[in-house]
Amino acid sequence: MIDLRPELGAAVAKLEQRSPYAAVLLSSREGISIEVEQQEEKISQLPLSAGIVVTCQANGILMERSLPGFEAGRLEQAVRALHQELPAAQNRTPAADGDVAVRDFATSGKLPAGDLRLEDKLERCRDIQRRLAKIDPRVVNARVGYVEQSEASVFRSRSQDLAQEVVRLRLFVMAILSQDGQVRYDWLGKGGTGGWELLDYTDEELQTIVEGAARMFSAERIEPGEHTVVTGPGVSGVLAHESFGHGVETDLFPKERARAFDYLGRKVGSPLVDIVDDPSLDGGYASYFFDDEGMLSEPTTIVDKGIFRSGISDWLSARTLKLKRTANGRRQDYTRKPYARMSNTYFGPGATSVEDLFAQVERGVYLNRWVNGMEDPQGWGIQVTCHYGREILRGKLTDRVFSPVSLSGYVPQVLDTIRAVGPLVLMDQGTCGKGHKEYVPNSAGGPHLLLQVKLG
């Protein structure tokens, strides 16, 4: 990749002889996974995706060629093919050397993954697996999954020459328990852009996973209806992600797909609601230095004190709608086009301690383990499916558990019922699709929230 970087300026200049806009992206996504279970261990390289994307514009159409590898011959082939398809003569003057911003970025950590041998990583996974397996005799399998994703990219346009290396780490722990022929499980995940210092699990944390799975044996179906709910940070994050995350991706706006477009500057929730997307979040699992269209990362305040302030944008929709460009033009990999996508999306912190927040609940449900969420940017519906919910009685958690629990409702109504917000923001890690495709690393989080919603 690095050998090809000096050639990119000439490629852009050649295409801009005939196109008002051209860019080249070199993108590499690779990594390893380690899985350790009771009876099995695996080490794999993650699916490798590395290639060149050449982009230019002609007659209002964005044209792209995506080719595998980083051979100079392939770049020439793509540029030649596109050049032939472009109408003759735009006659833009190539940028002078001094006009090009050259910057290089890389993530770091206290204990970088690159400093550990493969054997060390495997042994750390084994250690967690052994500690988890011995907590309870009902544990029939303890599963530890480690994923290390390395993303390298170079972006070249007429004014930018950017390079970044981003390493994302994630360690997922699951306890599978068996009792009377029934199987139940629970899990916990940690991760971020940084080093292995993010991935430590205390014995207490492992204990809570086993206790969570054990409680599932006596789980009941919840009485459908409106409930007072406290959401943990992960579920708060999914609420932000599905409500004013997907719903404000600006590539939906010109297609009338997002009701939020009609609500810019208007109230969409309680004054306690702040929602932010921040690809520059230090250590965030979905952080990056610039997006796949060369926009440098910075935070975007989407909702400020209950007022919708800004969407998150890709190059094409920001240009079409003359909106502020944010650093959210992301591709699944070099084989896919960029869309407006979230990065680290979260509810902002409030002032109510978690203890005081629970104390306000006479009878309610604590939701802290989500399975999936689904957006509905047009109808402003929301569904968050949780693995389980725990009963809150007079401000305290009981051992009563409901499973599964689906939270659903109309987004502005759900956000308007938020009446207390905890002080500490914590982030979950995962993968997000646009609909059911275009998967990118993603992170969502928030503080504890107290709200009134319908559960079923």
Binding site: E30, E37, Q39, E41, K42, I43, S44, Q45, L46, P47, L48, A50, G51, I61, L62, M63, E64, R65, S66, P68, G69, E71, L118, E119, V140, R143, I176, S178, G181, V183, R184, Y185, R221, P224, G225, P254, K255, E256, R259, D262, L316, T335, K337, D376, Q378, G381, Q383, T385, H387, S403, P404, V405, S406, S408, G409, Y410, Q413, G435, K437, G456
Partner: protein, 437 residues
């Protein structure tokens, strides 16, 4: 130009420290088109070319155990360091020993559309033009986004036991967003679909269906509070069956991980079976099925495996690895589902008051229990000729309990990853209203 796969298999074959190896080269050419309602926004041409290498070695700490590891190479990438990494990684892990599949007769299952192979760019353009002609007719709904992906993939698998096989697939995928109404009353439908050949996509028919459903969403009322018969048809049946529970409980990998409690010979139901008996195959032999193929990623021949026979669980869907571990036949890890025709004509299943669920926000039952509570995007309360659309309620139940009391239609259809009855009538499911009107 040298054959990179041959160089790699020669290198792997010359090593004495491997118990086995598999190398698969995959080459793909795709065309993509993205449009709004009036014009094409983006056109893309895509190529990929990579080689996946799996190695099996004795564990360095226990020769009676083995280790496996996978690496992937991009075109032009040097193979030797990647193979060394794979061997070192495999030697560090400890697993029971298993054997890779050997040569076998491969089925001849159609997976390639010659029209796509001949000119994928023309195929994608032709599909979009058909859609544009359909949307030009007056309708209560309008297209706002269309995305098309057309691909031709060729793969070549070689392993240490003598398998040397090639196969090809074509695939078309689409996503349409359809709108109805204006302002606050505007609603949309996201429609996506995967097929292997152009002939299995009725662009005009699908447009009519999706446009009609979107218009119905605009006039939909709130979900009723309801307990009673629920009907699923077509792709909704496919979604229900392929939602994870059956896949998890019948998976050899899940069984070995002790996630699935199912054992051959046991009833898949916990109570009395009041509906049609359940029989189900996992198959890679449906012509142009999503998982159809002559062989899987290990090199096992495509098969049709009886998973459930008249309510009794028969065998797991197992790769060679998990088949060895569980002492069961190797069937392949994943497949499409096939259900035999039922005894009741569809017209009879649609008689009498019932609710039909057409689409969920995301139907996601718990994998091991089958419990679900999933938001309905579009449903109908049906009573004779009266069909009242609704949305926003939760369908609540359990996948296995529902299948214990279902009647299947005698008519069958093909839905990409499912071949079987077009209609299922569940005797009793619950809907709870969840969203304010």
């Amino acid at each position: 130009m040298a054959d990179p796969l041959k160089a790699i298999t020669d290198s792997l074959g010359g090593r004495r420290d491997l118990l086995g190896w598999t190398a698969v080269q995959r080459q793909l050419h795709g065309e993509q088109l993205f449009a709004d309602r009036n014009h094409v926004e983006v056109r893309r041409s895509v190529e990929t070319d990579n080689i996946a290498i799996d190695v099996l070695c004795a564990s360095d700490t226990d020769p009676s155990m083995c280790g496996a590891a996978r690496v992937m190479l991009n075109v032009g990438q040097e193979a030797a360091p990647a193979i060394e990494f794979a061997v070192r990684a495999a030697q560090r892990t400890r697993n029971p020993i298993y054997q890779l599949p050997g040569p076998a007769v491969l089925p001849d299952v159609p997976t390639v559309d010659p029209q796509i192979v001949a000119d994928p760019a023309a195929a994608v353009t032709g599909l979009h033009e058909r859609l544009m002609r359909s949307t030009a007719s007056p309708a209560d709904a309008r297209l706002t986004l269309a995305e098309w992906f057309v691909e031709h993939e060729q793969s070549h698998l070689v392993n240490s036991r003598g398998v040397d096989a090639r196969q090809a697939h074509t695939r078309l995928s689409l996503e349409w967003i359809v709108l109805a109404g204006q302002g606050e009353g505007r609603v949309d439908t996201t429609f996506d679909l995967d097929r292997r050949r152009l002939a299995d996509l009725d662009v005009e028919g699908e447009w009519d269906r999706v446009a009609r459903q979107t218009a119905d969403r605009e006039r939909a009322g709130p979900a009723p509070s309801y307990v009673g018969p629920v009907v699923l048809r077509g792709s909704a049946v496919e979604t229900f069956l392929n939602s994870g529970t059956i896949g998890t409980l019948t998976s050899g990998k899940s069984r070995f991980a002790r996630i699935s409690p199912w054992e051959p010979g046991m009833s898949v139901f916990r109570g009395e079976v009041l509906g049609d008996p359940l029989t189900m195959w996992a198959t890679r032999l449906i012509p142009y099925g999503d998982h159809a193929g002559a062989f899987d990623e290990e090199g096992l021949p495509g098969q049709r495996t009886l998973l459930i026979d008249k309510n009794i669980f028969q065998t797991y869907c197992a790769s060679a690895r998990y088949a060895t571990y569980l002492s069961v036949p190797a069937t392949g890890a994943s497949a499409d589902l096939e259900v035999p025709p039922g005894a009741t004509p569809q017209a009879e299943l649609l008689t009498g008051p019932h609710v039909e669920v057409v689409a969920w926000s995301w139907f996601s039952p718990q994998p091991t229990t089958g419990d679900f509570a999933s938001e309905i995007r579009l449903g109908y309360v049906v009573d004779g000729a009266d069909r009242r659309p609704f949305n926003g309620g939760l369908l609540v139940g359990n996948v296995l309990d529902a299948l214990a009391n279902v009647r299947w239609s005698s008519e069958t259809g093909f839905y990409g990853s499912y071949l079987g009855p077009t209609t299922a009538r569940f005797a009793s499911l619950k809907i709870t209203p969840s969203r304010d009107a």
